[in-house]
């Protein structure tokens, strides 16, 4: 069982992921439509347990992204035969994802350079 990292202050994780959470969600959904639980699990798995999304941040983020029309929602049947709300990436969302990915890469590259310079 993977526990959340000890030094991950709940508040801070939420804050940190505000902007990046959107990016992660979009990326996750680019792999295919998924419900909220699925998105959360996927992020956890792919990040190797480092990134845990809090429900308190995830669902508002999902709803926000729906409002921005980057993702769309639909009720369907889950893999365990239960009714669940699925989200999928829209065309607009795909464009936004590309934009944000580019920004992220640029930013992190810059930060890396600074860190390596010293």
């Amino acid at each position: 069982m993977t526990k959340p990292r000890a030094d991950a202050h709940p508040e801070r994780t939420g804050e940190l992921l505000q902007g990046t959470l959107d990016l992660l969600i979009l990326k996750t959904l680019a792999l295919g439509p998924q419900h909220g639980w699925g998105v959360s699990e996927r992020i956890r798995q792919i990040s190797g347990g480092t990134l845990e999304t809090k429900e308190g941040s995830l669902y508002p983020a999902l709803h926000r992204l729906v409002r921005k029309r980057w993702i769309a929602s639909e009720w369907g049947v889950s893999e365990n035969n239960r009714r669940a709300k699925f989200y999928r990436l829209t065309a607009k969302g795909r464009k936004q994802l590309a934009r944000e990915e580019a920004t992220w890469r640029r930013l992190s590259a810059a930060v890396n350079r600074v860190l390596e310079a010293v």
Partner: protein, 900 residues
């Protein structure tokens, strides 16, 4: 995608109010989160946890379900209404928890907004709303002036009206003048104010009668059957709004008039009249019409109202009127002499009706706006203090996930709620005070009748309430919301306390400055009023009863040709002789007299007439001296207690066949004879046709409203010069004792003679200063209110600051600071702010001086005495406000706080 699905999506996109969609959306949210929770529990079970533990762990990891739901709801579009409702409910709850604050705020707002609402009703009714006549911006009033004769408002003569009518294309004109008639045919003879108008008068204004018909051109033809239109107020008052009145015939003086209609309840221009008749029905007018070609001045008693012709502008009309006036001077140089300064003008009717009221309205508007500003500043301070106390609650909400925007919205909703509540209460305040204000305005404009709390006023109040609520809410917002610092339980220093100190200080300075301005204004008005009270009248108005007894001139004059002039005069003299005898015989009467006017009978200025002095060799271009001519019977001077300085006044022996005499007042003697003894000298008031010998000199008097000006007066006896219209009598006791008997006495001489306007002179004089008195009272009230608000604001701000610095102060005292030093430390800022405020206020008062000059009497706007007193008052009040917190500061025990 099915059609239903597509429809759902489309609906989702619309900003539908949540409560329409809520059941489904809420249920879906619930389902979604429940699904997640179930999956989390499942996973915990898979990992080997016990069911109970699994559920607990999942729930804990989830956090608060409700919070998550809230956060999701925040993200939904177009749910603002739902969120707003929640904010409102939350605001109401939190306001209920602090009833003291809520009550104080609503009370202050009620006064501030109420005052503004009332004044706005005045401004709207009088200035902003268009006149209730169709196309009212086309309506104009013509005016003439002759400043050389001391007249700013010169009536039009028949000849002049004819000229204006013929020689202007851009104007349609209608004439009017006011008279009084005796209406006979009912239980008592009634004196009615009568508007005599040209037949097109009501058509020009666009006034449609509510009953019957208006005047037609045929009604004005010479020899037409006399007709009558009733004014709406008179119809209601005297006829009980009887529908059958149309067609009835009444005798106006001696001629039967048939009522053809009743007018609607619209404001009358220029003044409210009881009835109206066409020009052909007025014998004075008819006589003047016949004389107009020989006498240019015949019938100089008319006013002219007009409507701009289609497509004409007021500038065109002005130019035309000016041309016509210039032509008068050229073609009739004897009538329009150089020294007269004759001129004619055109003004919009709306402006003319409201001109006198403008300064007062501006003053009231400025005052109430200032009071509201002060109140807002004060409320902002109160709100700041309250926010400080609510820190804990706000911090908790922030920790639970409320965004800063959400919190701000919450606080603003709360203050707006207060604003709306204050506005509603303010409406009540305005409603209560509107009558008094309307009565005050009625002295300045006939449009006062249109003042009401109507739709626009309500809209204004709503807007002002919301704006005020937002204003003092915004002013009290915390600048930054640093959660981390807030969570530290530091005493006294929270995120809300530290910031905004500059703003609080500025608010105090502003309040003090505004309060000073208001105080200064009130002080000046009070001094004006006191000055008016002290004006030396030159006569004694106490114990004097006055009444108007205008003789039915159809019976007593030769104007209609039935009596010869001598017969008419004899009849008139007989009437007055009889009446005065009976009055003198009355036990209550000390002295009785008749005169054409008595002091304060009319307002405005008198028309000064030329007086020729015998023996003065004047060149042809010399300007004749002018004086106010008065006709009075022998008892006049005694009745009014006007001192006799030299010689004698009139007596019985100055009758019609005796040599013509006159009495002058002191200023006339000064001006006309350069201080030499005028007794025995002769003067003429008709350019040398007849001469009168001066037999006495009396004291000056001031008789034309609340003014300093003395008009030189020349008196002639009524027995010789006619002009008896009014009765005055000095009574032993209260004038009211004579009032009842007066009518009876008049009826005993002539049963068809109505008596009107029975009033005591004291009341008339008091009424003449009623406006300044009321204005001074109002301003004084507002000023006191402003000072109270400002002073509580200062005290509150200082108390707040003391609360902030408790630890610091007690530290200082523990370190050896004396109580006096500590007190000074606290008060230092306050004193500085007050001093700054007073200085600023003085500056503003001086700068705004010229604006209020027209409203003042015998006092300069920059009067140093008033300003000094006012500044001192405010400093003392502020000093008291500072004293309490200072004392509290010194009472902070040093030891206790150090332990904290």
């Amino acid at each position: 995608m099915t059609l239903r699905h597509a429809l759902r999506r489309a609906l989702d996109r619309l900003p539908f109010p949540a409560f329409l969609r809520r059941p489904t959306v809420e249920r879906e949210l619930d389902d979604e989160l429940r699904f997640h929770l179930d999956r989390a529990i499942e996973r915990n079970l898979e990992r080997g946890m016990e069911p109970k533990a699994a559920r607990r762990a999942a729930r804990r990891s989830f956090g608060g379900v409700e919070q998550v739901k809230e956060a999701c709801r925040d993200e939904w579009p177009g749910i603002t209404l739902d969120g707003l409702v929640r904010d409102v409910l939350y605001g109401l709850r939190s306001l209920r928890k602090t009833p003291g604050y809520t009550a104080v705020v609503i009370a202050i707002l009620a006064l501030g907004i109420g005052a503004n609402t009332a004044v706005f009703s005045l401004v709207h009714g009088v200035l902003l709303s268009p006149l209730p006549y169709p196309e009212s911006d086309e309506l104009v009033v013509l005016g003439q002036k002759a400043p050389g004769a001391g007249v700013e408002d010169l009536d039009f003569s028949v000849a002049e009206i004819a000229d204006y009518r013929e020689q202007t294309d851009s104007l349609e004109l209608a004439e009017y003048h006011g008279m009084t008639f005796t209406l006979l045919g009912r239980e008592r003879p009634e004196r009615v104010s009568t508007g005599v108008v040209s037949a097109d008068y009501f058509d020009l204004l666009g006034v449609e009668p509510v009953l019957g018909r208006s005047f037609r051109p045929e009604d004005e033809a010479p020899g037409a059957d006399p007709v009558l239109l009733l004014g709406n107020t008179y119809w209601r008052r005297s006829f009980g709004a009887d529908d059958d009145v149309v067609g009835r015939v009444f005798q106006m003086n001696d001629r039967p008039h048939r009522v053809v209609g009743v007018l609607p309840p619209l404001p009358h221009y220029p003044a409210e009249q009881d009835v109206y008749m066409p020009t052909s029905a007025c014998p004075y007018r008819a006589a003047a019409q016949e004389a107009m070609h020989e006498n240019r001045n015949a019938g100089r008693m008319m006013g002219l109202v007009g409507r701009l012709a289609p497509g004409a502008s007021i500038e065109q009309a002005r130019a035309e009127v000016k041309t016509v006036a210039n032509r008068f001077e050229r073609e009739h140089p004897d009538n329009y002499t150089e020294d007269l300064g004759f001129g004619a003008s055109v003004a919009r009717l709306q402006e003319t009706l409201t001109r006198e009221a403008r300064p007062l309205l501006a003053l009231l508007l400025a005052t109430t706006a200032l009071v509201l500003l002060i109140a807002c500043a004060n409320l902002a301070n109160l709100n700041l203090a309250r926010s400080r106390r609510r820190e804990g609650e706000l911090v908790a909400r922030a920790a639970l996930g409320a965004s800063r925007g959400r919190l701000v919205r919450q606080l603003l909703v709360e203050s707006t709620l207060l604003g709306l509540a204050g506005g509603a209460a303010g409406l009540v305040v305005a409603y209560l005070g509107l009558d008094v204000l309307t009565e005050l305005l009625a002295r300045f404009t006939p449009r006062a009748a249109e003042i009401a709390l109507d739709g626009w006023v309500l809209v204004f109040t709503l807007g002002l309430s919301v704006a005020t609520g937002l204003a003092f809410g915004l002013m009290a917002l915390p600048p930054r919301f640093d959660l981390a610092r807030a969570l530290r339980t530091d005493s006294g220093r929270g995120p809300i306390g530290t910031g905004r100190r500059g703003l609080r200080g500025a608010l105090v300075v502003g309040q003090v400055a505004l309060a000073l301005v208001l105080l200064a204004g009130a002080g000046l008005m009070i001094r004006s009023f006191v000055g008016l009270q002290r004006v030396q009248l030159g006569f004694d108005p106490e114990h004097v009863l006055t009444a108007e007894v205008s003789l039915n001139w159809s019976k007593y004059s030769s104007i209609e040709g039935e009596l010869a002039p001598e017969e008419a005069e004899a009849l008139t003299r007989a009437f007055w002789h009889e009446l005065l005898d009976r009055l003198d015989a009355h036990p209550e009467v000390v002295a009785a007299a008749t005169a054409d006017r008595f002091p304060f009978a009319t307002t405005g200025s008198p028309f000064l007439q030329e007086v020729t002095i015998e023996g003065r060799a004047e060149g042809p271009e010399a300007v004749e001296p002018r004086a106010d001519l008065r006709e009075a019977s022998p008892g006049y001077f005694e009745a009014l207690d006007i001192p006799v300085l030299r010689g004698r006044t009139f007596s019985e022996r100055d009758h019609a066949d005796a040599p013509a005499v006159a009495v002058v007042d002191r200023s006339t003697a000064e001006h006309l004879w350069n201080g030499r003894d005028p007794i025995g000298r002769r003067l003429s008031t008709d350019e040398g046709d007849t001469w009168a010998t001066v037999v006495g000199v009396v004291g000056d008097h001031r008789g034309y409203g609340a003014t300093d000006r003395v008009y030189p007066t020349v008196y002639r006896p009524t027995a010789q010069a006619g002009g008896a219209f009014r009765v005055i009598a000095r009574t032993r006791g209260a004038p009211s004792a004579l009032a009842a008997d007066l009518e009876r006495l008049v009826y005993s001489v002539d049963p068809d003679q109505p008596v009107a306007e029975i009033r005591s002179l004291e009341r008339i004089v008091a009424e003449s200063v009623a406006s300044p008195r009321l204005t001074a009272l109002l301003l004084g009230l507002f000023a006191v209110l402003a000072v109270v608000i400002a002073v509580t604001g200062i005290a509150g701000a200082l108390a707040f600051s003391v609360g902030q610095r408790t630890r610091e102060l007690s530290l200082r005292m523990a370190l050896g600071a004396r109580p006096g030093e500590v007190a000074w430390l606290v008060v230092r800022r306050g004193v500085l702010q007050v001093a700054l405020g007073v200085a600023l206020g003085l500056g503003v008062s001086l700068a705004a001086g010229p604006v209020v000059e027209s409203l003042l009497f015998r006092v300069e706007p920059a009067d140093p005495g008033t300003l000094t007193v006012v500044a001192a008052l405010l400093l003392v009040a502020a000093g008291i406000a500072c004293w309490l917190p200072a004392r509290r500061a010194t009472e902070i025990p040093p030891a206790r706080t150090l332990q904290a």
